[in-house]
């Protein structure tokens, strides 16, 4: 029969303090705000129906974090531990890499069709400058 775990305070690693954006309410609120921004943008652009649909999608997405606490994966997305933070960092890096490759491809496509490459030139420049700045800051901090 399993025994109760020993008193953990003197053995538990110090987990980073929980940040406000790791709260499930923060995720829901962010999704709601983004949904409202999409609604307004679509409304101004003359597509209120699309705006309502996008708002609905964002509300559903945010609600998953509120009601999905029984799922360990969803709970971890709101309250990550060190392994989940590592996974999140790798996933973010992969997404960024794919985005940069797409931007470079689109930039080349635009050039090959006799155009000046906008807006991909600027996006590629932002990516490059951000990467270099991040390297410098992270190197300085470590």
């Amino acid at each position: 029969m399993p025994t109760a775990p020993p008193d953990p305070p003197h053995t538990s690693p110090r987990q980073p303090p929980r940040r406000v954006w790791e709260s499930r309410w923060w995720v829901f609120g962010t999704a709601l705000l983004l949904g409202l921004a999409l609604l307004v943008a679509n409304w101004v652009g003359g597509h209120p129906g699309a705006g309502v649909a996008m708002l609905g999608l964002m509300v559903v997405f945010g609600s998953v974090f509120l009601v999905g606490r029984r799922s360990e994966t969803i709970r971890l997305m709101g309250q990550p531990d060190e392994r989940w933070r590592t996974i999140d960092l790798a996933a973010t890096a992969i997404a960024g890499l794919v985005l940069i490759l797409v931007i470079i491809g689109a930039f080349l496509w635009e050039l090959a069709h006799g155009r000046d490459g906008s807006p991909y030139t600027q996006l590629a420049a932002i990516s490059g400058v951000t990467y270099l700045a991040a390297l410098l800051v992270l190197r300085w901090r470590s």
């Binding site: 025994t3 775990p5 953990p8 690693p13 987990q15 360990e72 709970r75 971890l76 060190e82």
Partner: protein, 66 residues
């Protein structure tokens, strides 16, 4: 990286969830450590070793280490 976490945990009669709660991490993280798919941070590795009252080097074995 090989480790003795599963052996030490079962010797104590603990579930992965109980060990996870004691360490302040998820059950999935304990499972990943036990199966060698995730190498814990140094603070977590030390905490696990302390939890089982073992030296860190007795709990975790670096691949290829003598």
């Amino acid at each position: 990286m090989d480790n003795q976490i599963r052996q030490l945990r079962t010797d104590k009669g603990l579930s992965q969830g109980q060990l996870a709660a004691a360490m302040g991490v998820s059950r999935q993280t304990i499972n990943s450590i036990e199966t060698g798919r995730y190498t814990p941070s140094l603070p977590l590795a030390i905490a696990l070793a302390r939890f089982f009252a073992q030296p860190v080097e007795e709990v975790f074995h670096a691949d290829g280490a003598p």
